[in-house]
Amino acid sequence: MYSRKVIEEFTDPKNVGVIEDADGVGETGSTVDGDIITIYIKVKDEVLEDVRFKTFGCVVAISTSTMVTQLAKGKKIDEALKITNKDVIDALGGLPEDKRRCSGFALAALHKAIEDYKERGTA
């Protein structure tokens, strides 16, 4: 059901962890849903120098989390904001129709982390 790529990313996820001195943190989901994703970013010269995640959730939640961090890492913030849900799904070799519900959570968490970074800047 899951593509080979999904299973690969899921079993060997990149960028797992917390950035202790993160410049921005974003969280989506809830324990009731069964998915909580937190994304940490480290920004230097408007470039996402480091992107890490912690995820409690299903295979889709974990594999989209790691994929989002990989797609975003090294990109400029405005470039990173252009990543679409479709980009994430395509990079994973597709997702089963009935599993797409939570596929947007990781991207949303990245957006929140960037927002958080921007708010901190203006504060």
Partner: protein, 393 residues
């Protein structure tokens, strides 16, 4: 990697491999003795003989008479036939037809049937269970009304393995003169199932859960219990289940039930030993684990565990990659990935519910396999907790 690795199957509550002896018993009926049991010629007679022999095997395995056995296409159909068959028969007896009693933790085959019946005007009482999944007998007794037609309570639960006090339920049903149906799909072959010992009027069994082929099931119907069919056609199975009989499937089911009955003194004990050792070792090696269901009144092959800070599907997939097959809730609901109604009914918290898996043992599982499972669980739970956004670490 997957191809060279011997896989470990511990999802026997979802389905089982067909026993080689069962398959052997079926083979002649595909290509040689392939007749239709309604035919008068010698091919038909071979089919009738096979059908009668299987019916006798089934009857003998549960202490019933051959004429009390109705063959169906599986557990779901048996459950539908039991409940709807009784109601259809009583539909003109308005004093005795409006009310059904069941539990909150039945299989969807019973629960969806009940919702359908509610949608067409029947009333259903869903009796609650305690935190270990045991039915509240007092509430059951108090819920019986003058117009109650049938009580349907499962023998053992498919997710948490809790065994219900069916004898007590049967006594209440008899006292109140109400039919009692039990879904024994998970219990047959694991604990004794004798229709007279249990005192049930109807009982469902599914072939593929007991090393028989998929596509066959049984509804036991006590002599004198009045039913009507809910599928219509020719007059097969005493008029209760039309359609050309699935002879190879029925022969396999008969054989599977005979074998399960014969091995009842051996297989369940073996599974029980594996079960308890598995539970002990998992508790020894991991924190924040919970065993769901009753500690002792449970199926010998059921291990239902909740791991905090871990999501069930992810754990299942990590184990799958290691060649271990288990399930999250019941197989039937994992496709829709809804929250298990059984786990909510026993009052489990959401953070535990999401981290629940079911390991269901089979007669051929070994202690070496459980070693591998314990180790893999420790690794996988550890890994997911590391990754988890809510773990304490």
């Amino acid at each position: 990697m997957m191809s060279t690795m011997k896989r470990i199957y511990m999802d026997h509550s979802a389905t089982t491999e067909v026993d080689p002896l069962v398959l052997d018993s079926m083979l002649p009926y595909f290509t040689e003795k392939f007749g239709n049991a309604s035919s008068l010629h010698s091919f038909g007679q071979e089919a009738i003989e096979a059908l009668s022999a299987a019916r006798q095997q089934v009857a003998d395995s549960i202490g019933a008479k051959a004429n009390e056995i109705i063959f169906t296409s599986g557990g779901t159909e048996s459950d539908n036939l039991a409940i709807r068959g009784v109601l259809a028969k009583k539909k003109n007896d308005t004093s005795r037809s409006q009310h059904i009693i069941t539990s909150m933790i039945e299989h969807p085959a019973v629960l969806s049937t009940c919702s359908f019946l509610e949608s067409i005007g029947y009333e259903v009482t869903y009796v609650p269970v305690d935190s270990e999944g045991v039915l509240d007998l007092d509430k059951l007794e108090r819920s019986v009304r003058d117009d109650t037609s049938i009580i349907s309570i499962m023998h053992a639960n498919n997710e948490i393995g809790t065994i219900q006090p069916v004898k007590d339920i049967a006594r209440i049903a008899r006292d109140k003169d109400v039919y009692f149906h039990t879904d024994a799909v998970q219990s047959f072959g694991k604990i004794p199932v004798d229709v007279n010992e249990m005192g049930v009027d109807m009982l469902s069994i599914s072939s593929h859960k007991i090393h028989g082929p998929k596509g066959a099931g049984v509804l036991y119907v006590r002599e004198g219990t009045e039913l009507e069919p809910f599928i219509f056609g020719g007059g097969h199975e005493q008029g209760l289940r039309p359609g050309t009989e699935n002879i190879p499937g029925i022969v396999g089911l008969g054989k599977a039930m005979s074998l399960a009955k014969e091995r009842l003194g051996h297989d369940p004990e073996h599974m029980l030993r594996l079960r308890d050792s598995l539970i002990d070792r998992i508790f020894d090696s991991l924190d924040d684990v919970r065993l769901n269901g009753h500690p002792t009144q449970r199926l010998p092959n059921n291990v239902n565990l909740s791991f905090r800070y871990v999501e069930g599907e992810s754990l299942l997939m990590l184990l799958d990659v290691k060649g271990i097959a288990i399930s999250t809730a019941s197989a039937c609901s994992s496709i829709s990935k809804k929250e298990s109604h059984v786990l909510s009914s026993i009052g489990l918290n959401a953070d535990y519910i999401h981290g629940t898996i079911r390991i269901s043992l089979g007669k051929d599982n070994t202690i070496e396999e459980t070693d591998h499972v314990v180790q893999s669980l420790q690794e996988s739970v550890g890994k997911l907790r590391e990754m988890s956004a809510i773990s304490k670490s």
